[in-house]
Amino acid sequence: MSGPSEYPVPLTDKQVAARRHRSIAIALALGALVLLFYAATIVRMGGNVANRPLSVIGAGVLNGVLR
């Protein structure tokens, strides 16, 4: 009678290295995606972000600060 099989099956060194490389690639891709979305947001907003009307609350706060 054989002993209990080990589960999950341990990974070989090659499999561990491959998994590490895949994880790094996914992390880099996600990082690049974040940067792309950030850059696209800035491009699409353009200068409009500086020209938008202030909200009533924002204007009130700003008024208070300026006084």
Binding site: T12, A18, R22, L33, V43, R44
Partner: protein
Amino acid sequence: MAELGVQADISGARDTSSSVGDFFELMKPRVMSLVVFTALTGMVAAPGSIHPVLAFIAILAISVGAGASGALNMWYDADIDAQMQRTVSRPIPRGRVSAEDALAFGSFLSAASVLMLGLLVNWTAGALLALTIGFYIFVYTMWLKRRTVQNIVIGGAAGAFPPMIGWAAVTGGVSVESVLLFLIIFFWTPPHFWALSLYRCRDYERAGVPMLPVVSGPAETRRQIVLYSLVFIPIAISPYFIGLGGLSYLAVSSVLGAVFLKLAFDVRRITEGREADAAAKKLFLFSILYLFAVFGVMLLEKIVLRVLA
């Protein structure tokens, strides 16, 4: 020469030693390069302008979408890929990537590329990319490829959409010019693939794919190659007549078009022995050069015009 059918792992069992390169190979990088090139041409040829960052995002999304559909195609066709010499070295038949992982990879990238293009560029381009991926997977790969001899004629539309997507990324719409760019690739596809299938006929026969030489025979395939080439070349030249291409475009598309026709007639004329295979191979390779050349000249013309303007 690659051995056929070896280590064909199409069962869906996970292979935890898949490398990043294996996944990249799933995306059919050579096809991706053609897609990127034609999409870029569509983008530059389109009237109007697009911010370079958005242009980069559009090209990236289109290429990732093309790669994703390549991965899904490899997932679905893993069984026939394992039987064909041309495709037996692909990651799934070789057992380097599991079919299950290829499906997940392709599905995720398909959704991500469409969302990225739609959200960051515009939804016309995003919808066209979704249509392209859906057409390639559901219409060509799953429906037509194993059922009809017209598989690559109709399925060729999937490869013809990228310049139209590039155009839509800039203009937000579809126009006669972008439809013409679509038609160039659409009519280029049959002579291109039938030339390949002439000298890879046994591969397709073994895999049970009803390519034209397998179903109708080499003689009919040669006739169809000439007919489609006669339709294709005038379409490839026509951008000049609607102002999409300039004089250099006219010159290149006409002169190389004449060479294309000559090679097509060579395929029709030389029907026996290794010379016949060589003629088909020559047409196949030249057809790739032709497409790169006409789109390349159009791209260069537009860049020069923009620089001079």
